[in-house]
Amino acid sequence: MTETILSVRDLRVTFETPDGPVSAVRGVNLDLKSGETLAIVGESGSGKSQTTMAMMGLLAANGRADGSVTYRGREILNIGERALNGIRGKKITMIFQEPMTSLDPLYRIGRQLAEPLRYHAGLSARAARPRILELLRLVGIPDPERRINSYPHELSGGQRQRVMIAMALANDPDILIADEPTTALDVTIQAQILELLADLQKRLGMAIVFITHDLGIVRRFADHVAVMRYGEVVEDGAAEALFAAPKHPYTQMLLDAEPEGRKEPPAEDAPALLTGDDVRVTFHLGGGLLAKPTPLHAVKGISVSLHEGQTIGVVGESGSGKSTLGRALLRLTESTGRVAWLGKELPEGIDAMRPYRRELQLVFQDPFGSLSPRMTVGQIITEGLLIHEPTLSRKDRARRADEALAEVGLDPSMRNRYPHEFSGGQRQRIAIARTMILRPRVIVLDEPTSALDRSVQKQIVTLLRDLQAKHSLSYVFISHDLSVVRALSDHIIVMKAGEIVEQGPTDAVFDAPRQDYTRALMAAALSTTRFRTAS
């Protein structure tokens, strides 16, 4: 009854680069049956996206695909744009990771939705309109009569992804390819989009190829799973079987990559190091010579108290003010209210704060942006020493750099290399070494693991926990990723729109969240129940 509608045989993708050819996909075989969900799982650089790009004829100009892809017995690989256009957008459609940029910013969404209908179903703009409204309703866009005339920038990220899905469904496709469709979205929006996809599949019966790095999603969504690494499928099989008994060590490693373990709680009588009382941050947006700036209250009166050896996890969605709170606690952004270090109020101003900076450190989310590309690793991690221990000799600085690199698990001989020669995880270790070299007591960690692959995340979490135990550090850990927060924190603050909606000891918050918002965050991030009720 379930026939195979798409089959990929020995697919290879090679890119010509100035440094020679790079093979991104090396002989992939996949089969997709009608109506099923196939998940392709892998970390960044595994070739999972390029596999589907090759199928759809969307490789970059320097890419070449070999092998065979057949749709209902018909070869579709390298058959030319014109022939391929009979299938893509009609029988096989696709949604992308970047909802913000995947729609043309210059046209109303109604017009963009009409295009697949015009060129595949031959409908006129007028004839397409009822169908477009129906599609918008189907994907849950409120007030479609009005929204049909919106430009993409007038919609939120989640709404844009819904519009993309509507576009994908326009011609009742057989296959929907979803390339990390929720990665760029907040967790609660992610859950809604996934629910929508599951629901639509149930109603419309198309097959879905779901590309993701997130095994949590796969578990709840897929019938069949293929795990990719270095351009190859290392393991594939039915989802349940694969999760129950992974055969390949890489799959096992990915499944284990969920950060686990709990942090040892700090001593009962640990002294309070950093306290914030009624901290408020207001930004003034826009405003010119005449226009009055509009105030944005990013943090609306938050009080926290960080004790020695403690980790406070701050969770919330983007725009909730959690990063701003972290920066305000370090006096890196102007705020009102009291911020005190060991009971003494911290001064404002660059020069006045300098003596305190050595003990109050910050680690950023983006390991690619936070290291200056023109400096060697050695120069980067010793910059703080130049500021806080200017009397140190060059030799002593080099010795301290070696110690710091060794402490974060990097080879000290890498001191003379440049950041672009390192992977994301290594860079984040360098960023941590840069703070550790100053022997700080408090580190604000602003989403330090969000840009990293799961397996790397786990290592960084372990590293952070080890460093904390060894040096009795205190952390403010800012993240939207609840599983990481749970593995690191003693105390949780849940933020929404600049306010604390809930806080308490980690286990208490996780085991019995009191607020709907917290529950939604948890359900979206940690639930293992499947989206689809029937299959």
């Binding site: 696709m94 043309d104 910013p105 210059l106 046209y107 920038h153 576009m167």
Partner: protein, 307 residues
């Protein structure tokens, strides 16, 4: 949109005012005057002349008089061409400059966009390389090299076009000046459009259009080229202002009666009113075309709002 236009025009007035003021005092305190001829004038005649042109009044008074006249649209009498007012000179010269400049602009926009788009669509082919190389040559060859060469080739060697001179009615006289004016702009626009199109073709929304099986002409024409036009439109504003106010080089080499020459002649001969008039005309053109560009930009890109 009307309100926006009016607001923009109003906000341009202070800029023009500052420019007029700066130029006025700069040229006035410069050594020399309009009547410093090789043979000094009789002091009595000089005094009469200065009185006739209000040059004997204090500088600030002259400035106020000039501003007063300017507001009424009177640019004053020319000092060196004593039978003409500056308004007369512009009435004669400006149509010529505008005619040549606008035709050159039109030609450059069409040719440049075409060549740039072709190069981008055939990226890294021989055609692309040829267009880029020729465009680089076009950008680097100064117009005072192109103009004499064209004049020599078509006017003298081949003898198929007039080597110089002007006729209101015979377009044959217009061709070489237009080509000279347009060539460097063709080159710049071609490179701009090429760069923008290459970028647009890589944009995610163009990938979406391709993924949905839209025909190539729709992907390129509707989704890529419109985005690619945006930087070109920004470039066209100042360029149009420069082209339409004449080019001293082209007018000198081809002997054209445009207004491009007035600036250098006026400044060198201390023809105060002529210099000021040129500055005002150029400033007005710059303001006007920047406004047009912003309106076109907002029309092309819905993300830009009038505010």
């Amino acid at each position: 949109m009307l309100g926006y236009t009016l607001r923009r025009m109003a906000s341009a007035i202070p800029t023009i005012f500052i420019i007029v003021t700066l130029t006025f005092f700069a040229i006035r305190i410069a050594p020399g005057g309009p009547f410093d001829l090789e043979r000094p004038l009789d002091p009595l005649i000089l005094a009469n002349l200065q009185r006739a042109y209000n040059l004997d009044a204090p500088l600030w008074q002259q400035y106020l008089i000039y501003l007063g006249n300017l507001v009424q649209g009177d640019l004053g009498p020319s000092f060196t061409r004593r039978d003409f007012s500056v308004n007369d000179l512009f009435a004669q010269g400006l149509p010529v400059s505008i005619l040549l400049g606008s035709l050159a602009l039109l030609a450059a926009a069409i040719m440049g966009t075409f060549l740039g788009a072709v190069a981008a669509l055939r990226q890294n082919s021989w055609l692309d390389n040829a267009i880029v190389a020729i465009a680089t040559l076009g950008i680097t060859t100064p117009n005072f090299v192109i103009a004499p060469l064209l004049s020599l080739l078509f006017g003298v060697v081949l003898g198929i076009l007039p080597a110089g001179g002007w006729s209101d009615s015979n377009p044959a006289y217009w061709i070489l000046p237009i080509v000279t004016l347009a060539l460097p702009q063709v080159a710049v626009i071609a490179r701009l459009v090429r760069g923008a199109t290459v970028e647009a073709l890589r944009a995610n929304h163009v990938r979406t259009a391709r993924a949905y099986g839209l025909p190539g002409r729709v992907v390129v024409g509707v989704h890529a080229l419109r985005a690619a036009m945006l930087p070109t439109v920004s470039y066209l504003g100042p360029t149009a202002a420069a082209l339409l106010t004449g080019s001293v080089v082209v007018e000198t080499i081809f002997g054209l009666p445009g207004i491009g020459r007035y600036f250098v002649q006026g400044a060198l001969g201390r023809d105060y009113t002529l210099v000021m008039g040129t500055v005002v005309v150029i400033a007005v053109f710059v303001v006007l075309f920047n406004l047009l560009v912003d309106l076109a930009y907002a029309w092309l890109d819905p993300r830009v709002r009038y505010d």
